[in-house]
Protein backbone atom coordinates (compact mmCIF):
# COMPACT_ATOMS: atom_id res chain seq x y z
CA UNK A 1 0.00 0.00 0.00
CA UNK A 2 2.81 2.37 1.00
CA UNK A 3 4.80 1.42 -2.12
CA UNK A 4 1.80 2.18 -4.37
CA UNK A 5 1.52 5.61 -2.78
CA UNK A 6 5.23 6.28 -3.43
CA UNK A 7 4.83 5.24 -7.10
CA UNK A 8 1.73 7.45 -7.43
CA UNK A 9 3.56 10.41 -5.89
CA UNK A 10 6.54 9.81 -8.15
CA UNK A 11 4.35 9.94 -11.27
CA UNK A 12 2.61 13.05 -9.94
CA UNK A 13 5.98 14.78 -9.47
CA UNK A 14 7.09 13.72 -12.95
CA UNK A 15 3.85 15.13 -14.43
CA UNK A 16 4.26 18.39 -12.52
CA UNK A 17 7.88 18.67 -13.65
CA UNK A 18 6.86 18.11 -17.30
CA UNK A 19 4.11 20.73 -17.01
CA UNK A 20 6.59 23.20 -15.49
CA UNK A 21 9.06 22.51 -18.30
CA UNK A 22 6.31 23.12 -20.86
CA UNK A 23 5.33 26.44 -19.28
CA UNK A 24 8.90 27.71 -19.11
CA UNK A 25 9.50 26.65 -22.71
CA UNK A 26 6.69 29.01 -23.75
CA UNK A 27 7.97 32.03 -21.93
CA UNK A 28 11.71 31.64 -22.19
CA UNK A 29 13.60 33.26 -25.03
CA UNK A 30 14.74 30.10 -26.70
CA UNK A 31 16.68 30.35 -29.90
CA UNK A 32 16.67 27.37 -32.23
CA UNK A 33 20.22 28.01 -33.34
CA UNK A 34 22.87 30.63 -32.75
CA UNK A 35 23.18 32.83 -35.80
CA UNK A 36 26.81 33.62 -36.56
CA UNK A 37 26.77 34.39 -40.25
CA UNK A 38 24.37 34.52 -43.13
CA UNK A 39 24.80 35.00 -46.84
CA UNK A 40 22.12 35.09 -49.52
CA UNK A 41 20.86 36.72 -52.66
CA UNK A 42 17.90 38.95 -51.96
CA UNK A 43 14.99 40.44 -53.83
CA UNK A 44 12.97 43.17 -52.18
CA UNK A 45 9.67 44.36 -53.61
CA UNK A 46 8.08 47.41 -52.06
CA UNK A 47 4.54 48.36 -53.07
CA UNK A 48 3.85 51.86 -51.80
CA UNK A 49 1.17 54.28 -53.02
CA UNK A 50 0.38 51.92 -55.94
CA UNK A 51 4.01 52.13 -57.04
CA UNK A 52 6.17 49.01 -57.09
CA UNK A 53 9.93 49.23 -56.60
CA UNK A 54 12.31 46.33 -56.96
CA UNK A 55 15.76 45.98 -55.41
CA UNK A 56 18.08 43.03 -56.01
CA UNK A 57 21.48 42.07 -54.71
CA UNK A 58 23.36 39.89 -52.30
CA UNK A 59 24.11 40.22 -48.62
CA UNK A 60 26.67 38.99 -46.15
CA UNK A 61 25.93 39.26 -42.48
CA UNK A 62 28.59 38.55 -39.87
CA UNK A 63 26.25 38.83 -36.90
CA UNK A 64 26.27 41.09 -34.98
CA UNK A 65 29.31 43.06 -36.19
CA UNK A 66 29.11 43.61 -39.92
CA UNK A 67 26.60 43.74 -42.75
CA UNK A 68 27.59 44.04 -46.39
CA UNK A 69 24.90 44.63 -49.01
CA UNK A 70 25.90 44.46 -52.68
CA UNK A 71 23.04 45.91 -54.67
CA UNK A 72 22.99 45.33 -58.44
CA UNK A 73 19.49 46.53 -59.29
CA UNK A 74 18.21 49.26 -59.87
CA UNK A 75 21.70 50.71 -59.39
CA UNK A 76 25.12 49.46 -58.39
CA UNK A 77 25.59 50.24 -54.71
CA UNK A 78 27.59 48.76 -51.85
CA UNK A 79 26.58 49.36 -48.26
CA UNK A 80 28.83 48.22 -45.44
CA UNK A 81 27.82 48.76 -41.85
CA UNK A 82 30.50 48.12 -39.29
CA UNK A 83 29.97 49.36 -35.75
CA UNK A 84 29.37 53.13 -35.93
CA UNK A 85 30.60 53.54 -39.50
CA UNK A 86 28.36 53.08 -42.51
CA UNK A 87 29.91 53.27 -45.95
CA UNK A 88 27.76 53.76 -49.03
CA UNK A 89 29.77 53.25 -52.20
CA UNK A 90 28.60 54.00 -55.74
CA UNK A 91 31.17 52.19 -57.94
CA UNK A 92 29.86 53.66 -61.21
CA UNK A 93 30.03 57.20 -59.82
CA UNK A 94 33.33 56.65 -57.97
CA UNK A 95 31.69 58.14 -54.93
CA UNK A 96 31.90 57.02 -51.32
CA UNK A 97 29.84 58.31 -48.41
CA UNK A 98 31.30 57.64 -44.97
CA UNK A 99 28.56 58.10 -42.39
CA UNK A 100 29.41 58.10 -38.71
CA UNK A 101 26.61 57.74 -36.19
CA UNK A 102 26.15 56.52 -32.64
CA UNK A 103 24.13 53.57 -33.91
CA UNK A 104 23.38 51.90 -37.24
CA UNK A 105 20.78 49.18 -37.60
CA UNK A 106 22.75 46.24 -38.99
CA UNK A 107 19.83 43.93 -39.67
CA UNK A 108 17.73 46.32 -41.78
CA UNK A 109 15.16 44.11 -43.58
CA UNK A 110 16.70 40.96 -42.09
CA UNK A 111 15.17 41.65 -38.66
CA UNK A 112 12.04 39.44 -39.12
CA UNK A 113 14.17 36.63 -40.60
CA UNK A 114 16.48 36.66 -37.58
CA UNK A 115 13.61 37.11 -35.11
CA UNK A 116 11.82 34.09 -36.61
CA UNK A 117 14.61 31.94 -35.17
CA UNK A 118 13.40 32.77 -31.65
CA UNK A 119 10.47 30.81 -30.26
CA UNK A 120 9.04 34.04 -28.86
CA UNK A 121 10.08 36.22 -31.85
CA UNK A 122 12.46 37.99 -29.44
CA UNK A 123 9.56 39.54 -27.54
CA UNK A 124 10.76 38.48 -24.08
CA UNK A 125 13.93 40.48 -24.64
CA UNK A 126 11.70 43.54 -25.21
CA UNK A 127 9.97 42.88 -21.84
CA UNK A 128 6.77 41.54 -23.47
CA UNK A 129 4.89 39.02 -21.34
CA UNK A 130 2.94 35.96 -22.45
CA UNK A 131 -0.71 36.60 -21.54
CA UNK A 132 -2.51 33.71 -23.21
CA UNK A 133 -2.13 30.80 -25.62
CA UNK A 134 -4.33 28.50 -27.66
CA UNK A 135 -3.60 25.20 -29.34
CA UNK A 136 -5.57 24.26 -32.48
CA UNK A 137 -4.42 20.98 -34.04
CA UNK A 138 -0.80 21.65 -35.13
CA UNK A 139 -1.07 25.39 -34.60
CA UNK A 140 0.02 27.22 -31.49
CA UNK A 141 -1.20 30.78 -31.01
CA UNK A 142 0.51 32.86 -28.34
CA UNK A 143 -0.57 36.34 -27.25
CA UNK A 144 2.03 38.75 -25.88
CA UNK A 145 1.42 42.02 -24.05
CA UNK A 146 3.86 44.93 -24.29
CA UNK A 147 5.45 46.57 -21.24
CA UNK A 148 3.62 49.66 -19.92
CA UNK A 149 6.40 51.96 -21.12
CA UNK A 150 5.45 51.20 -24.74
CA UNK A 151 2.57 53.69 -24.67
CA UNK A 152 0.44 53.10 -27.77
CA UNK A 153 1.51 49.52 -28.49
CA UNK A 154 -1.02 46.72 -28.24
CA UNK A 155 -0.74 42.95 -28.16
CA UNK A 156 1.40 40.88 -30.51
CA UNK A 157 0.02 37.54 -31.65
CA UNK A 158 2.32 34.80 -32.90
CA UNK A 159 1.01 31.86 -34.92
CA UNK A 160 3.31 28.85 -35.05
CA UNK A 161 2.59 25.82 -37.23
CA UNK A 162 4.61 22.63 -36.69
CA UNK A 163 7.20 24.60 -34.71
CA UNK A 164 7.61 27.18 -37.49
CA UNK A 165 6.48 30.77 -37.11
CA UNK A 166 3.95 31.46 -39.88
CA UNK A 167 2.57 34.84 -39.01
CA UNK A 168 2.86 37.74 -36.58
CA UNK A 169 0.06 40.22 -35.97
CA UNK A 170 0.88 43.48 -34.22
CA UNK A 171 -1.99 45.47 -32.75
CA UNK A 172 -2.23 49.03 -31.40
CA UNK A 173 -3.82 49.91 -28.04
CA UNK A 174 -7.28 50.10 -29.73
CA UNK A 175 -6.96 46.53 -31.03
CA UNK A 176 -6.45 47.60 -34.66
CA UNK A 177 -3.92 45.58 -36.64
CA UNK A 178 -0.99 47.87 -37.46
CA UNK A 179 1.35 45.30 -38.94
CA UNK A 180 1.04 41.82 -40.35
CA UNK A 181 4.14 39.72 -41.02
CA UNK A 182 3.90 36.47 -42.98
CA UNK A 183 6.71 33.90 -43.10
CA UNK A 184 6.77 31.63 -46.16
CA UNK A 185 8.87 29.10 -48.08
CA UNK A 186 10.71 27.61 -45.11
CA UNK A 187 14.00 25.96 -46.04
CA UNK A 188 15.73 23.25 -44.09
CA UNK A 189 19.36 24.20 -43.58
CA UNK A 190 20.86 21.44 -41.48
CA UNK A 191 18.96 21.64 -38.21
CA UNK A 192 17.63 25.08 -38.99
CA UNK A 193 14.26 25.91 -40.50
CA UNK A 194 14.69 29.36 -42.09
CA UNK A 195 11.99 31.33 -43.93
CA UNK A 196 12.79 32.06 -47.56
CA UNK A 197 10.24 34.86 -47.86
CA UNK A 198 8.89 37.42 -45.45
CA UNK A 199 5.93 39.57 -46.41
CA UNK A 200 5.10 42.62 -44.31
CA UNK A 201 1.92 44.65 -44.56
CA UNK A 202 1.70 47.92 -42.65
CA UNK A 203 0.01 51.29 -42.78
CA UNK A 204 2.08 54.27 -43.88
CA UNK A 205 0.39 57.69 -44.13
CA UNK A 206 -2.98 55.94 -43.95
CA UNK A 207 -2.23 53.70 -46.95
CA UNK A 208 -1.26 50.04 -46.86
CA UNK A 209 2.35 49.38 -47.78
CA UNK A 210 3.49 45.90 -48.75
CA UNK A 211 7.07 44.76 -48.45
CA UNK A 212 8.19 41.40 -49.71
CA UNK A 213 11.75 40.16 -49.15
CA UNK A 214 12.90 36.85 -50.64
CA UNK A 215 16.23 35.22 -49.84
CA UNK A 216 17.72 32.63 -52.18
CA UNK A 217 20.98 30.64 -52.11
CA UNK A 218 20.83 30.93 -48.35
CA UNK A 219 23.82 29.85 -46.35
CA UNK A 220 23.87 30.01 -42.58
CA UNK A 221 26.93 29.76 -40.35
CA UNK A 222 29.14 28.91 -43.31
CA UNK A 223 32.29 30.66 -44.44
CA UNK A 224 31.76 34.25 -45.49
CA UNK A 225 34.15 35.96 -47.94
CA UNK A 226 37.43 36.78 -46.17
CA UNK A 227 37.00 40.50 -46.47
CA UNK A 228 33.68 42.10 -45.69
CA UNK A 229 35.25 45.51 -46.11
CA UNK A 230 34.92 47.57 -49.23
CA UNK A 231 37.65 47.46 -51.82
CA UNK A 232 37.84 51.16 -52.63
CA UNK A 233 39.79 52.26 -55.72
CA UNK A 234 42.16 55.23 -55.40
CA UNK A 235 40.38 57.81 -57.58
CA UNK A 236 37.23 57.91 -55.50
CA UNK A 237 35.53 61.03 -54.15
CA UNK A 238 34.98 60.59 -50.42
CA UNK A 239 32.37 62.57 -48.52
CA UNK A 240 32.20 62.28 -44.74
CA UNK A 241 29.05 62.84 -42.70
CA UNK A 242 28.29 62.86 -39.00
CA UNK A 243 24.76 61.77 -38.08
Amino acid sequence: MFRTKIIKDYFLYVLLFCAFQGMTAFSATLQSVELISLSANFTKILVENDTESLTKGSLFLNYPETLHLKINYPIMQDIVINDTLMQIFYPEKHLLYNVNAAYHDKLIFLSPFVASQYKDYGLSALSYTLSDYQVENDTLITIWQPPKEMGNAGATVLKTLNDKLVNVLIYDEKDNIVQKILFKDYQKLGFIGFPGTVEILYKNSGKITKKNVTLTNLEINKSIPDSLNLDIPENVTIENFEW
Binding site: I71, L95, H104, N152, W243
Partner: protein, 141 residues
Amino acid sequence: MDFIRNRFIVVNLLMVALMLNLVILPITMDFSFAQDAETENYESICQKAEQDAIEDEDNSASFAFGGFMCGVFGYIFAATSKPEPPVERLVGKDEDYAHAYATCYRQKAKSLRTKAACIGWAVGSTVSMVYFMATAESESN
Protein backbone atom coordinates in the same frame (compact mmCIF):
# COMPACT_ATOMS: atom_id res chain seq x y z
CA MET B 1 7.34 91.68 1.92
CA ASP B 2 10.78 90.61 0.57
CA PHE B 3 9.38 87.11 0.15
CA ILE B 4 6.55 88.39 -2.03
CA ARG B 5 8.99 90.56 -4.03
CA ASN B 6 11.17 87.47 -4.65
CA ARG B 7 8.10 85.59 -5.80
CA PHE B 8 7.35 88.35 -8.29
CA ILE B 9 10.93 88.19 -9.60
CA VAL B 10 10.51 84.44 -10.15
CA VAL B 11 7.18 85.04 -11.90
CA ASN B 12 8.79 87.69 -14.12
CA LEU B 13 11.61 85.31 -15.02
CA LEU B 14 9.07 82.62 -15.92
CA MET B 15 7.21 85.14 -18.07
CA VAL B 16 10.47 85.91 -19.90
CA ALA B 17 10.90 82.14 -20.45
CA LEU B 18 7.36 81.95 -21.81
CA MET B 19 8.01 84.86 -24.17
CA LEU B 20 11.18 83.11 -25.36
CA ASN B 21 9.07 80.02 -26.02
CA LEU B 22 6.66 82.05 -28.06
CA VAL B 23 9.57 83.35 -30.13
CA ILE B 24 11.50 80.08 -30.42
CA LEU B 25 8.46 77.95 -31.19
CA PRO B 26 7.52 79.71 -34.44
CA ILE B 27 11.18 79.75 -35.51
CA THR B 28 11.55 75.99 -35.09
CA MET B 29 8.18 75.39 -36.75
CA ASP B 30 9.21 77.48 -39.75
CA PHE B 31 12.66 75.83 -39.88
CA SER B 32 11.20 72.56 -41.16
CA PHE B 33 9.70 74.36 -44.13
CA ALA B 34 12.74 76.49 -44.80
CA GLN B 35 14.40 73.94 -47.07
CA ASP B 36 14.85 75.54 -50.47
CA ALA B 37 14.09 72.92 -53.04
CA GLU B 38 16.42 73.27 -56.00
CA THR B 39 14.56 70.88 -58.21
CA GLU B 40 11.14 69.29 -58.27
CA ASN B 41 12.78 65.93 -57.72
CA TYR B 42 14.56 67.17 -54.62
CA GLU B 43 11.26 68.55 -53.36
CA SER B 44 9.44 65.24 -53.79
CA ILE B 45 12.28 63.32 -52.08
CA CYS B 46 12.21 65.85 -49.28
CA GLN B 47 8.44 65.53 -48.91
CA LYS B 48 8.74 61.75 -48.68
CA ALA B 49 11.55 62.03 -46.11
CA GLU B 50 9.54 64.49 -44.02
CA GLN B 51 6.44 62.30 -44.18
CA ASP B 52 8.50 59.30 -43.04
CA ALA B 53 10.01 61.37 -40.23
CA ILE B 54 6.51 62.36 -39.06
CA GLU B 55 5.49 58.67 -39.04
CA ASP B 56 8.66 57.60 -37.23
CA GLU B 57 8.61 60.42 -34.68
CA ASP B 58 4.98 59.70 -33.89
CA ASN B 59 5.83 59.14 -30.26
CA SER B 60 7.71 62.33 -29.42
CA ALA B 61 5.87 62.60 -26.11
CA SER B 62 9.13 61.85 -24.30
CA PHE B 63 10.64 65.10 -25.68
CA ALA B 64 7.51 67.04 -24.63
CA PHE B 65 7.81 65.52 -21.17
CA GLY B 66 11.52 66.45 -21.09
CA GLY B 67 10.61 70.06 -21.98
CA PHE B 68 7.89 70.12 -19.33
CA MET B 69 10.13 68.81 -16.58
CA CYS B 70 13.51 70.30 -17.49
CA GLY B 71 12.54 73.49 -19.35
CA VAL B 72 15.43 74.87 -21.36
CA PHE B 73 17.54 71.75 -20.74
CA GLY B 74 14.83 69.57 -22.31
CA TYR B 75 14.86 71.90 -25.31
CA ILE B 76 18.68 71.76 -25.56
CA PHE B 77 18.57 67.96 -25.33
CA ALA B 78 16.04 67.78 -28.19
CA ALA B 79 17.99 70.33 -30.26
CA THR B 80 21.25 68.42 -29.89
CA SER B 81 19.73 64.98 -30.51
CA LYS B 82 20.78 63.20 -33.70
CA PRO B 83 17.84 61.50 -35.41
CA GLU B 84 19.03 58.91 -37.88
CA PRO B 85 17.12 57.92 -41.02
CA PRO B 86 16.58 54.14 -41.27
CA VAL B 87 19.33 52.71 -43.48
CA GLU B 88 16.84 50.49 -45.30
CA ARG B 89 15.32 53.56 -46.96
CA LEU B 90 18.67 54.32 -48.63
CA VAL B 91 19.13 50.82 -50.05
CA GLY B 92 19.03 50.83 -53.86
CA LYS B 93 18.80 54.62 -54.02
CA ASP B 94 21.22 56.85 -55.95
CA GLU B 95 23.61 59.27 -54.28
CA ASP B 96 21.41 62.36 -54.80
CA TYR B 97 18.39 60.63 -53.35
CA ALA B 98 20.34 59.29 -50.36
CA HIS B 99 21.83 62.72 -49.64
CA ALA B 100 18.54 64.62 -49.99
CA TYR B 101 16.53 62.03 -48.08
CA ALA B 102 18.96 61.86 -45.14
CA THR B 103 19.24 65.67 -44.90
CA CYS B 104 15.48 66.32 -45.01
CA TYR B 105 14.66 63.42 -42.72
CA ARG B 106 17.11 64.57 -40.05
CA GLN B 107 15.96 68.19 -40.24
CA LYS B 108 12.30 67.26 -39.97
CA ALA B 109 12.81 64.74 -37.16
CA LYS B 110 14.88 67.23 -35.19
CA SER B 111 12.30 69.95 -35.79
CA LEU B 112 9.54 67.67 -34.48
CA ARG B 113 11.58 66.86 -31.39
CA THR B 114 12.42 70.50 -30.60
CA LYS B 115 8.81 71.50 -31.26
CA ALA B 116 7.59 68.87 -28.79
CA ALA B 117 10.20 69.99 -26.23
CA CYS B 118 9.18 73.65 -26.72
CA ILE B 119 5.50 72.85 -26.19
CA GLY B 120 6.42 70.90 -23.04
CA TRP B 121 8.60 73.80 -21.87
CA ALA B 122 5.82 76.35 -22.54
CA VAL B 123 3.22 74.26 -20.72
CA GLY B 124 5.63 73.69 -17.81
CA SER B 125 6.44 77.41 -17.56
CA THR B 126 2.75 78.38 -17.73
CA VAL B 127 1.82 75.91 -15.02
CA SER B 128 4.63 77.16 -12.76
CA MET B 129 3.72 80.79 -13.44
CA VAL B 130 0.05 80.24 -12.61
CA TYR B 131 1.08 78.38 -9.46
CA PHE B 132 3.45 81.16 -8.29
CA MET B 133 0.97 83.91 -9.07
CA ALA B 134 -1.79 82.12 -7.20
CA THR B 135 0.38 81.47 -4.14
CA ALA B 136 1.80 85.06 -4.19
CA GLU B 137 -1.71 86.50 -4.38
CA SER B 138 -3.01 84.34 -1.52
CA GLU B 139 -0.01 85.36 0.64
CA SER B 140 -0.45 89.08 -0.07
CA ASN B 141 -4.12 88.74 0.92
